[in-house]
């Protein structure tokens, strides 16, 4: 990926980010550990003063954005079709929970597995190309999945799968109250988040980063970069599927919105606003975008305009995203 990596290098070169990379606790630097603590504290107390359903939506999108960030932030692959895995995870979970009566944890796992399968096929095709071609192939494959969802009988077309039951966790704990559901969603999110963190800081993650920085060099060092990229793609797709599956259980509905290409655009926006290649960036980005959609809904069509403006401002004024800029200001890596 010579052209994009040079561009990225130039952008980073213009404003050099001082980095303190001390691997303190569980692979987190001290600053990251502090941020993680803050996040967990927020997760624990927020449902008591914020609307739980809104928080659950936020967490689902945060996990989705984290999964997407795993690809773009750490491997440098811009997938423009991640909505397909997110949406398909939702449809599958909805279907197995409603039609087959699966318990929620099995439904979520099934959604993630199907998304992983799709990711394996799409990734196998797409990773052979770089840059814009990679993005276009992922988009094309996602559109195929979208039209499959429009026509397939089990998705209900434009109506979606409605009235998906939340069911009972492990067949024991009823998830009908929002607060119980919230704890499950928070746990799913936290597991996904820590898994991604673990992946990034493993030796495997180091290879991914080296591919991002300079792929020919990694190849010359003896790494089969295609295999690494494919594995990252599958991991990212399956986590996106888990996020989608969780979302469809929360809202009891799975629709075409989640497989539409504009959802793929939205997750790019979340990751960019929050901060590309930062651990916490996608979470903050998702929070900003979802909060905007929720609290500005009364402005109707203006929400999209405001989102566009924010995107432009982000690109013009703080290119590293919210978390990236904060990290830069405090001279830490978040």
């Amino acid at each position: 990926m010579p052209d994009t990596s040079i561009a990225a290098g130039a952008a980073a070169g213009a404003i050099p980010a001082p980095v303190k990379d001390d691997h303190g606790i569980w692979g987190f630097s001290r600053a990251q550990f502090g941020a993680l603590g803050l996040m967990i504290a927020f997760l624990a107390i927020s449902p008591f003063f914020l609307y739980p359903v809104f928080l659950m939506k936020l967490l689902c999108f945060a996990l989705f954005a984290c999964a997407f960030n795993l690809l773009i932030g750490y491997v440098g692959l811009l997938s423009f079709g991640h909505a397909a895995y997110f949406g398909m995870g939702g449809y599958i979970a909805g279907h197995v929970a409603k039609a087959w009566g699966m318990t929620p944890e099995l439904a979520i796992i099934t959604g993630g597995l199907v998304a992983a399968g799709l990711g394996a096929i799409a990734g196998w095709v797409a990773i052979r190309r770089q840059g814009i071609y990679f993005a276009m192939i992922t988009l094309a494959l996602a559109q195929m999945i979208y039209f499959f969802c429009v026509q397939a009988p089990f998705t209900g077309g434009e109506d979606g799968i409605q009235a998906i039951p939340r069911g009972k966790l492990f067949g024991l704990v009823s998830l009908d109250t929002d607060l119980t559901m919230y704890w499950v969603v928070a746990a799913v999110f936290l597991l996904g988040f820590l898994l991604i963190h673990r992946i990034i800081h493993s030796p495997y993650g180091m290879v991914l980063k080296s591919i991002k920085e300079n792929e020919p060099r990694s190849t010359s060092l003896g790494y089969r970069t295609d295999d690494y990229k494919l594995m990252a793609f599958i991991l990212s797709a399956s986590l996106a599927g888990v996020a989608g599956a969780t979302k469809s259980l929360v809202f009891g509905i799975a629709t075409l919105t989640d497989v539409h290409w504009s959802m793929s655009g939205e997750v790019v926006l979340m990751t960019l606003v929050g901060g590309l290649g930062t651990v916490f960036g996608p979470v903050i980005g998702a929070a900003v975008i979802v909060a905007m959609q929720n609290y500005l809904a009364e402005l109707g069509a203006w929400v999209t305009v405001i989102q566009g403006v924010i995107f432009v401002v982000c690109v013009l004024a703080f290119r590293r995203g919210i978390v990236g800029e904060i990290g830069n200001l405090l001279k830490v890596k978040l």
Partner: protein
């Protein structure tokens, strides 16, 4: 760079705080307030026939109801024709103390919200959605389906066109619950009268704006009638496209759901002679003209369309039921409030006297109109000539045929 990054950050943070703080204040609720939320299409293809007009007419109903010892607050939101968006808004509103949601055009959204209203035991006053499933297999004790439905449209418009000799049909159908229901119900009537269905083309909603491919498919079908099982802007675009291709010379165009706003944007020149069915027309009688007089200035100087008029009728009747049973009781249970609405006879300026059936179906007459020729129209909104009136007890699907689980035979 001219923009100071720090200023921007500060402004962004301020905006974020303001937006987080703002709508929360609406949460503070007086026990003596009834809160009604209008969920409608404020930005998509149904905006002109529902959306802002429904808000205006809901507010008018509150105003005409007057002060009777409790306050009424009206909220509004845009569901963007997406079932998930609509369901989220309804869920959030119900959790935050909204007592009733009104309008809900777009059948897929209506069916999704129908579930939520039932789960949370609130009130769903539907005016905008057409699917007859709302009072059929998916009927709910929390729902009143006020204005019209696909069965009524099919029976009135569909049957009238078959009588004129249109006995082979091709459909262009919006591919979601509403289009399917309208095509199904119309097909049943056509077949019952000895006609036949040649085929149908289904297009993705709301993403389609160019209908030429579907129109050409229809042209090659050689059916006598081209039925549009869609609504609003889509229907207008279809009819315009059909005229451009010269389809109107080979086949009869049947718009199964059309209203004054659509005819206005189509123009009498293109629209003249079309048969259509409505449950409300502003120039129908003294009472509808009086209502039009009251709201016209607030409604962008337009007379009310059918769906907003339905919001007026439904909200007015709901408020009467609330006054009758007391605010606390009405707020406590949506089933009880709807039960009271069904027990009381309805009467309002838009629809005149009527009743609500056990399955939630509001009963009033259906009117078959013919669009006037440009020469016959005396003022800019003088668009229709009344052709036939179907009395209320015949206009809608018989109670026993709806398969509504609430109805025990």
């Amino acid at each position: 760079m001219a923009i100071q990054r720090r200023d921007l950050l500060a402004a962004g943070a301020a905006a974020a705080t303001a937006s987080l703080a703002g709508p929360r204040s609406a949460r503070a609720q007086a026990a003596n307030t009834i809160r009604i939320g209008v969920i409608s299409d404020m930005s998509g293809p149904y905006r002109d026939t529902t959306g802002p007009g429904s808000v205006v007419l809901t507010q008018q109903a509150v105003q005409d109801f007057g002060a009777r010892g409790f306050a009424v607050e009206v909220l509004q939101a845009d569901h963007q024709n997406r079932p998930d968006v609509g369901a989220n808004i309804a869920r959030q509103w119900f959790d935050q103390g909204v007592d009733a949601v009104v309008d809900l055009p777009t059948s897929s959204v209506a069916l999704a919200v129908n579930q939520i209203a039932r789960e949370k035991n609130k009130v769903h006053l539907n005016s905008g959605a057409a699917t007859s499933d709302l009072t059929g297999p998916q009927c709910s004790p929390n729902t009143v389906h006020w204005t019209y439905d696909t069965y009524m449209l099919a029976k009135s418009t569909g049957a009238a066109i078959v009588k004129q000799g249109g006995n082979s049909w091709y459909f262009i159908t919006a591919d979601y619950a509403f289009g399917h229901a309208l095509e199904r119900d119309t097909s049943n009537f056509v077949r019952a009268q000895g006609g036949r269905i040649v085929g149908s083309a289904r297009y993705p909603f709301p993403a389609t704006t160019d209908f030429s491919a579907f129109l050409l498919q229809a042209q090659s079908s050689r059916a006598k009638v081209l039925g549009f099982a869609n609504a609003s802007t889509d229907t207008v675009n279809c009819i315009k496209g059909a005229r451009e291709f010269g389809l109107h010379r080979q086949m009869k165009l049947a718009a199964l759901l059309m209203g004054v706003v659509d005819i206005k944007s189509l123009g009498l020149e293109s629209g003249q002679g079309l048969l259509l069915t409505e449950a409300f027309y502003w120039d129908l009688n003294e009472r509808t003209r009086a209502l039009t007089q009251r709201v016209r200035a607030k409604n962008q100087d337009r007379p009310p369309a059918m769906v907003p008029a339905g919001c007026y009728g439904a909200v007015l009747h709901y408020l009467k039921a609330v006054a009758d049973m007391g605010v606390a009781a009405a707020r406590a249970s949506g089933v009880d409030a709807v039960g009271r609405m069904k027990a009381m006879p309805c009467d309002d300026d838009a629809f005149g006297p009527g009743t609500i059936r056990a399955d939630g179906r509001k009963i009033h007459p259906g009117y078959l109109f013919e669009v006037k020729a440009p020469g016959a129209s005396t003022n800019p909104w003088d668009l229709y000539k009344l052709v036939a009136t179907t009395p209320g007890d015949e206009a809608f699907r018989p109670l026993a045929e709806g398969q509504c689980p609430l109805v025990r035979s």
